[in-house]
Amino acid sequence: MAEISVTELSKGLRDAIANLESGEGLEKVGVVVRVGDGVAWVHGLRSAGYSEMLEIESGDTIVEAFVLNLMEDEIGAVLLGSEVKVAAGDKVRLKGRILEVPVGPELLGRVVDPLGRPLDGGPAIKTKQMGLVEREAIGVLGRKHVHEPLMTGIMSIDAMFPIGRGQRELIIGDRQTGKTAIAIDTMINQARQKTGVINVYVAIGQKLSKVARLIDRLKEEGVMDQTIIVATGPSDPASLLYLAPYAATAMGEYFRDNSQHALMIYDDLTKHAVAYRQMSLLLRRPPGREAFPGDVFYLHSRLLERSAKLSDDLGGGSLTALPIIETQAGDISAYIPTNVISITDGQIFLETDLFYQGIRPAISAGLSVSRVGGDAQTKAVKSVSSHLKLGLSQFRELASFAQFGSDLDEATKKQIDNGQRLTELLKQPQYQPASIWEQVASIHAVSVDAFDNVLVKNIKDAQAALLTKLWTDHKKEMQELNKGNKPDEKLLALIEKTAKSAAKGFEA
């Protein structure tokens, strides 16, 4: 066989490409047959692919759409803009590519829509790169086990349900139980602890006033510089709500693929599923349970699978996901909650009852779990918090039936007392994430019974006194402890001693 020289090959390729380009003049076109509810049905375009972009020429404007239904005689496309201008008979062109959004560090500090257009009144966003909205998740060999901590700054989470970089941890609970608050505190903690983690917050159909409040808060806390907000409101078309988490994930993946760490917050996936249900029903796909389409599991699994910890060969970056799901009357066995629970690596369940008892964050110790975070827990916190979860779960169980009788044996009474102290200690106001040393010192003080004689209502004051004392008298040791290494016996003894002396002012 004749040998092909490399120079000839490249010339041949260039000629072939030039030939292809000369044939480009003829573009595939179709025509809108009918339009309504954000969906256009198009005749023609037999070569259109799933999720491919379309341009609908209506009058003197162009409306973009993407293909979701491929049928024998027509295709169904979901409009990305207003349908008001689109009419039957409008010409439709294939763009020959799937949806892309701008990605890169230029987006930091900006508020954008799912197509990457600025919503904050700032200048147009010009990035060097574009990222595919729908992209395959990284394969098995490209991944590494989750082993680095992602501190939320919320004591009960970091101590009992630690989250690692690359993990998917669901935040689930009824309305008004503090789901978004946990996500915001986690974002704030990244800035306070200077972890370098980039936050990407996706508002899916959230009230725009709530998003505006959140942005103000993040600016106040100095978190916006390392945050991207992708916002969609309730009045946006369902197609934008559907695209929002995928587009935001593409923005987060840029950092993951460049050896950085990013944190995705999807607020919330219940509304995302509802938007997808609306689109599917309008596209006349058969409804299934709760009228959701059959592929609603795939909708979320393919999204959350993109969060991963990459192998060292791929740079070791990570994308952590905190999806949020809203339940109705605490029912975690509904369709979407069970789906997302089974996809994620654990869940933080927030209970309305706890919330109204003043236990905030209202995390249920019994129903929450972190399946992969154990390896990722900071050694310092791990060393003092191993017994916490069991103790707290047992206390909640005991406390519920201790209400009915007062004849309790000493051991049970002691367990209940300890539980009450622990519960009080783990209460944490919003926007006040705790650093590692604060968490270790507080938990250790209760574990070694240093606060045993302190009234439950005074526990928070005793804790504050302990932390102030430790920081003023032993700043150097605390700074060392904050690095996350396992504290030695000497340091633990120092904390215990300081705790006992701090408790003295608050004893009954």
Partner: protein, 130 residues
């Protein structure tokens, strides 16, 4: 009796074959079928589908629109170009003069189009500005 609904694509393929085979009664037959099955609304779409099916079999019905009438030499060039890009054996050209295109030419073949008119260029500029 309710008839089983046949897709437009299958109808178009069948009638394109019939037309090429030279059967003359296909048009009244199709008209009767559409009337019977209450699908008169689809007349335009079926016409397009038949044109597309014919194009796949090598017979292209093209429409050439321009702001001013084309010269014979330009027409020949257009036919040659269409034969090249569609690989069709036979190209039939319908000519249209549309002054509002302002300039340039628009070629339409079944399922595809080349719009090199000034009107479209201006529209694209306007859309980009938005």
């Amino acid at each position: 009796m309710a008839l089983f609904r046949i897709s437009r694509r299958k109808l178009a393929d069948y009638y394109a074959g019939e037309i090429l085979a030279g059967h003359e009664d296909v048009v009244p037959q199709l008209a009767a079928y559409l009337m019977e099955t209450n699908r008169l609304r689809e007349v335009e779409l079926i016409t397009r589908d038949i044109e597309a099916a014919l194009a796949r079999r090598g017979v292209v019905v093209a429409e050439v629109a321009s702001a001013h009438a084309l010269t014979e030499a330009t027409k020949d060039a257009v036919v040659a170009y269409l034969k090249k890009v569609t690989s069709a054996a036979q190209v039939e050209v319908k000519e249209l003069v549309e002054p509002d295109l302002l300039g340039g030419v628009r070629l339409k073949v079944p399922g595809a189009e080349m719009d090199a008119t000034l009107k479209r260029k201006i529209m694209k500029l306007r859309a980009a500005k938005v």
